[in-house]
């Protein structure tokens, strides 16, 4: 029998922390569950999950859906789409069986790319390689989570760029149902000897196809994802890493009778992550945001300390409680903290998002 390989290439950069990654985790479990009730898909579909942040890795190697067990998704620092693509192409090269006189090959593989931001590295070489070697032998669907993705870049990779407006748990449900239906129709159409790739109809409410031929604000550049500010921190008590996520808001500010929009970030939450965070992080990077632009501060999600955003002289972040003397879990130095008040706040090293 022929396999229909489905690859999920998933952005697990810090900006995905919290609700999006939980939804993706649950969403993939539901996709597989739904596919299991469809006899065509159950017998033909094989699934693999590749995740990328600053680094890329195979979370689930290509396998039949009957042996699939929903994985736990890690979170990493950075959005290295080029490493993600590179790893995907390596996996395709290693796993895809081509039809020859002696063996029955796979159906054309389908890749679902989920990303929510802007790559933090140069993707041109990886995209060129994809176009040259894989664009004809695999089908790619690129899905932007939210409004801030570099659509034009995704358009270079795929003719199917979808925009998913992740506004509510219902919209996630609708979105994952759309992915499931696309896989189901493909698994049936391959049997009918057609090209074997048919996306399900979209409702345009939660997911819509992007027409890149129309003008729009698609160009985004720079190597830091500016829609979110994410700080990587370590808990003083448990030494565990955690992330604090702030989402961009515009706030009007009145200055000398004139209205200005200023950039600010509102706290979305703080989340403990496991040590795989360091494994998937891009270490070569540093960038700052001013504390004045931040609204709200979380408590530590690992030990409950009242203040989760203290910056040590080593410029790393950890939590502090009401102890007189704090010890930085990163560098071990000790000190007393005062609030960074006064003029202009202070700069905090942010992660790439």
């Amino acid at each position: 029998m022929r396999r229909l390989p489905i690859y999920f290439l998933i952005d697990i950069s810090e900006s995905m922390v919290g609700e999006p990654i939980q939804q993706v985790e649950e969403g993939l479990a539901t996709i597989i569950q739904a596919l299991k009730s469809d006899p065509h898909a159950l017998e033909t579909v094989w699934v693999s999950i590749i995740v990328f942040a600053g680094q890329a890795k195979t979370l689930v190697p290509l396998q039949e859906i009957v042996s699939f067990y929903p994985p736990k998704f890690p979170i990493g620092s950075g959005t290295s789409l080029s490493k993600g693509l590179g790893h995907l192409m390596y996996e395709l090269r290693s796993n895809i069986v081509k039809t020859t006189y002696e063996q029955k090959g796979d159906w054309k593989p389908i890749v679902f790319l989920f990303t929510d931001g802007v790559p933090t590295d140069d993707t041109s070489a990886a995209i060129a390689e994809w176009k040259q070697n894989w664009a004809r032998t695999a089908n790619m669907v690129a899905i932007s989570f939210g409004d801030e993705t570099d659509m034009r870049l995704l358009g270079e990779l795929s003719n199917d760029v979808m925009h998913f407006k992740n506004t509510s748990p219902q919209s996630y449900k609708a979105f994952f149902k759309w992915v499931t239906d696309s896989i189901k129709t493909s698994s049936i159409s391959v049997e009918n000897n057609s090209t074997g790739f048919e996306l399900a109809k979209t409702d345009d409410e939660t997911i819509s196809k992007i027409d890149l031929s129309k003008p729009g604000d698609y160009d985004r550049g720079g190597y830091v994802d500016d829609n979110f500010v994410v700080f990587a921190a370590q808990c003083q008590n448990t030494k565990r890493p955690y992330l604090m996520k702030y989402g961009k808001v515009s706030q009007p500010s009145n200055f000398g009778g004139m209205n200005f929009e200023t950039r600010a970030y509102r706290l979305m939450g703080a989340y403990p992550v496991d040590n795989s965070y360091y494994e998937l992080a891009d270490k070569s990077y540093e960038n700052n945001v001013s504390s004045d632009e931040l609204i709200g501060a979380p408590t530590c999600p690992c030990c409950g300390n009242q203040y989760g955003l203290a910056v040590c002289s080593c410029r790393k972040i950890h939590c502090i409680g009401d102890e007189e003397v704090s010890t930085c879990p990163w560098c071990g130095s000790q000190g007393k903290y005062t609030s960074g008040g006064g003029n202009g706040g202070f700069n905090i090293g942010r992660a790439q998002g």
Partner: protein, 462 residues
């Protein structure tokens, strides 16, 4: 300094108090006073308690967040899984239980830590894992964690068998099988709707037809309507009927007698040359008939895409003549008397990623350079079986083209088919003879093969 003195010295130094160095003698005295010895030991006890309390809390969090999985099972198949504390690093558990197996067909033995049984239906089994671990107080409330086992449904149980609408457009019977005498040999043929069509109450896309012609010739045609073509089932039907019809009218005794002369003279090239116009005429006629029908129905020709293979056959005292035409991916094969050699009568049209086949409904094939190569002629002194099949049989039973060349695959194929039911006791009351062969074939056509649920058509001349 003794242990106690060291302790107090360090305690003071930690707070930046360095006077013990200045007043060393007094400090050493101070440090060994009764109440200080008591206090240090108390502090140490409290520290140990605090550390332990934290360690227990951290361990509790650790286990609660731990990713514990069991292998997936399948409904109706025996299942065993070990709850392996060693590999899961849970050797510090002092007691545990795993519940939630009611009505699942599985059970858990806490002594051997084994889950076993036969799950009776697909779905996710959610289990409650309760446990205590070393270090917790006597009688501490058990910790609770949800675990799950995924049970897959048996794929066979998911396929529905919905009859097609007998009054619908271009309807045809879902399953047919027949046996007849054809030109002095026996033809047994069956065409069965695949599970993918049965699952949605769709129609069979495959078709076949055959006829005795004048002067001892006969024709057998097999066609597979493209699943992606909305009226492929009609295309295959028209193709088979058109070929048979054309040869009935065109390949008359008068016209075919010259071929008999060529056979007597053993002039093989001549036989081919004489037969070719009729074969290509029949293929052309199939195309024209479908084209005509599509115009009448006001549908694009591509709605009727279908493959087509057919063979003209005649048996002489010195052997048998086979003339064939082929477009698409339906293999035709000829097996010699003692089943030691197979001769393939066509080369299949296949693409790199599947779905690259060609159809009789493509006008360009008649103009293509390889059109001549679609015709084949064989004269054999003896044969045991002549077989025509659609990809619904070929895919599961031969997988790839390379295997069609291998005689052992064919030997195995006929053992598996077991038309004569050699491998089993004849059922009581079962009819013997030809009907039995037909029924046996019809029954065999329903074989199970994962991922292969296309329509199946098989015609065997023997």
């Amino acid at each position: 300094m003794n242990d106690i003195q060291k302790y107090i010295f360090t305690l003071l130094a930690n707070q930046g108090i360095h006077s013990p160095q200045q007043f060393e003698k007094e400090f050493l005295e101070f440090a060994v006073r009764e109440e200080n010895i008591k206090n240090v030991s108390l502090i140490r006890q409290l520290q140990v308690q605090m550390t332990q309390a934290w360690q227990i809390r951290a361990r509790r969090l650790e286990i609660a967040g731990q990713y514990i999985t069991f292998p997936n099972g399948m409904a109706g198949r025996p299942y065993t899984a070990l709850f392996n504390f060693e590999t899961l690093n849970l050797t510090d558990l002092t007691s545990h239980s795993l519940t939630g197996f009611e009505g699942t067909g599985l059970e858990y033995d806490a002594v051997t830590r084994t889950i076993s049984g036969t799950p009776d239906q697909g779905g996710d089994i959610t289990l409650e894992f309760t446990y205590n671990f070393e270090g917790e107080e006597e009688g501490a409330a058990p910790n609770v964690k949800k675990l799950s086992i995924i049970i897959n449904a048996d794929p066979k149980s998911l396929w529905k068998d919905i009859p097609s609408d007998a009054n619908g457009l271009y309807s045809k019977p879902d399953n047919v099988a027949e046996i007849c005498q054809l030109g002095g040999k026996t033809l047994v043929a069956a065409s069965r709707r695949g599970r993918s069509h049965a699952n949605i109450g769709g129609y069979r896309d495959d078709d076949y037809d055959y006829a005795e012609l004048e002067n001892g010739w006969s024709v057998i045609a097999v066609s597979d309507g493209a699943g992606s073509a909305p009226a492929g089932r009609k295309g295959s039907e028209i193709a088979c009927n058109a070929v048979v019809d054309y040869l009935k009218h065109q390949f008359t005794a008068e016209r075919s007698s010259v071929i008999d002369e060529a056979v007597s003279a053993n002039a093989k090239e001549k036989i081919k040359e004489l037969g070719l116009p009729y074969l290509s005429g029949a293929a052309n006629h199939a195309f024209e008939e479908i084209e005509h029908f599509s115009r009448e129905a006001a549908m694009p020709l591509s709605n009727f895409h279908a493959t087509l293979v057919f063979a003209l056959v005649k048996h002489y005292p010195q052997g048998s003549a086979f003339m064939t035409f082929s477009i698409g991916d339906c293999p035709m094969a000829l097996l010699n008397k003692d089943m030691t050699e197979v001769t393939l009568m066509n080369k299949l049209d296949v693409g790199e990623f599947g779905g690259g086949t060609r159809f009789i409904t493509m006008p360009e094939i008649f103009r293509a350079d390889d059109f001549e190569a679609r015709f084949r002629f064989e004269f054999v002194t003896d044969f045991s079986y002549f077989v025509l099949m659609t990809d619904g049989i070929y895919d599961p039973k031969f997988e790839v083209e390379a295997n069609l060349d291998k005689i052992e695959r064919w030997q195995h194929f006929f053992e598996d088919l077991d038309l004569e039911r050699k491998n089993r006791e004849a059922l009581p009351g079962m009819r013997r003879g030809n009907d039995d062969i037909r029924d046996r074939l019809a029954e065999w056509m329903d074989f199970w093969s994962p991922g292969n649920h296309d329509d199946r058509t098989l015609a065997i001349l023997f």
